[in-house]
Symmetry: C2
Subunit: 208 residues, 2 copies
DNA sequence: CTGTTTGTTTGTCGATCGACCAACAAACCG
DNA sequence: CGGTTTGTTGGTCGATCGACAAACAAACAG
């Protein structure tokens, strides 16, 4: 069962990358199928044949986005020995990604479809789920820090701290979208990390 | 030059409020003129006669939004005696607004049109300008704190601190959008304020 | 009353939306 | 070679988009 029938004239990976670029620039609702077909260099019917519907295509695009742009922040979170360094590096990796000169200056996950028409609600919640996963990843890293012994904080505070740094990441995306430079984001990150010692030393009345 | 011609059968303020509710729920691109006409209880032609185009209507909606939902955070920023209390109160007022049970759980200014189709770029930049005004307002409040003598920080640090707390506000909106409760936002705010003493006491290497 | 002014209703405009079908094209199987 | 399978092209579908024009309705001026 090798290759049967007419072979594809386009590379699905390349086409997916081109779809990613367009969705990234215009968001989910702002990108039409004819725009996509033109950018991908194929007819819209080929999109349906290869990727399914517009919604299916977008989900595949987001998977690609996660393994490319999403990777540096995720890796930063995992690869640094101390929790503090991991969080700091994640913020900086995020800032790097959202100020790259060759791509829109924001995180797709956060701004591609935060609101929209009722018929696109499934996509909005799909992205919301991925964002909640972001927070879970941060929270897991904090828990690992407690296990490693380099972080001491009450379990209730871990929730708050994880949500706090996730909030900063999401705010950074809006800042970059509005024209903040890499250096300006760095200054924000420095401010955000200024809370670290207080959050991880005091008995911390950050409950909820 | 009293009332000439046929009088209006609807109240423009009420209609604008209804348009606000719909734009708030679905964003700019996700809201169609027929949706608006139905929600406002008038024909689409009456929208054009009274408010101009969809874009004009949205700008008027945002003006109303600014004087209603935008007012509590703005007032908090101005009315508290110390800078620290003002920033803290602004964050809490924001959290109050974006978790009200009778409205969508996010700030329209931030999430109604962060990205979108090319033909709507003017609206996206219109909102971006308003968001930059947010940061300017925070920065002005910090400058006032320096003048009042309750805040000591190098001028360069003021930029960073203002952008930092603006970033937190914008991140809070994404958190609320994704289901965070008022209490969870409060915990985030507590974390964000934990940086305050460090930011406003140390010589502060937050340059850029 | 008539004429003017203003607002509303109805209908429609060309364009575009996402989705898909039928016809055609190019590979492999035997 | 013919038959099968798969992909692509061009066309089309009903629905809807934002925007407006024409016709009708209700107030005032005189």
């Amino acid at each position: 069962m090798a290759t049967r029938g007419r072979p594809r004239t386009f590379d699905p990976d390349t086409a997916l990358r081109q779809a990613l670029d367009l969705f990234w620039e215009r968001g989910y609702e702002g990108t039409s199928l004819s725009d996509l077909a033109q950018a991908m260099g194929i007819a819209s019917a080929s999109i349906y044949a290869c990727f399914g519907s517009k919604e299916d295509l977008f989900r595949q695009v987001m998977a690609l986005y996660g393994t490319t742009s999403g990777e540096p922040p995720r890796r930063a979170l995992h690869e640094h020995p101390t929790t503090r360094a991991a969080i700091h590096a994640m913020l900086r990796a995020t800032a790097d990604e959202i100020t790259r000169p060759d791509a829109p200056h924001y995180c797709m996950l956060i701004l591609a479809a935060p609101t929209g028409a009722v018929e696109n609600r499934a996509i909005q919640e799909f992205l919301a789920d991925l964002r909640r996963d972001m927070r879970t990843a941060v929270q897991d890293r904090l828990a690992r820090g407690v296990a490693d012994g380099d972080l001491t904080a009450p379990p209730a505070a871990l929730d708050a701290i994880a949500r706090y740094y996730t909030t900063v990441v999401q705010g950074l995306s809006v800042q970059a979208r509005d024209g903040a430079t890499r250096a300006e984001l760095e200054a924000v990150i420095t401010c955000a990390m200024a809370a670290w010692d207080t959050l991880t030393s005091a008995p911390s009345r950050t409950g909820a």
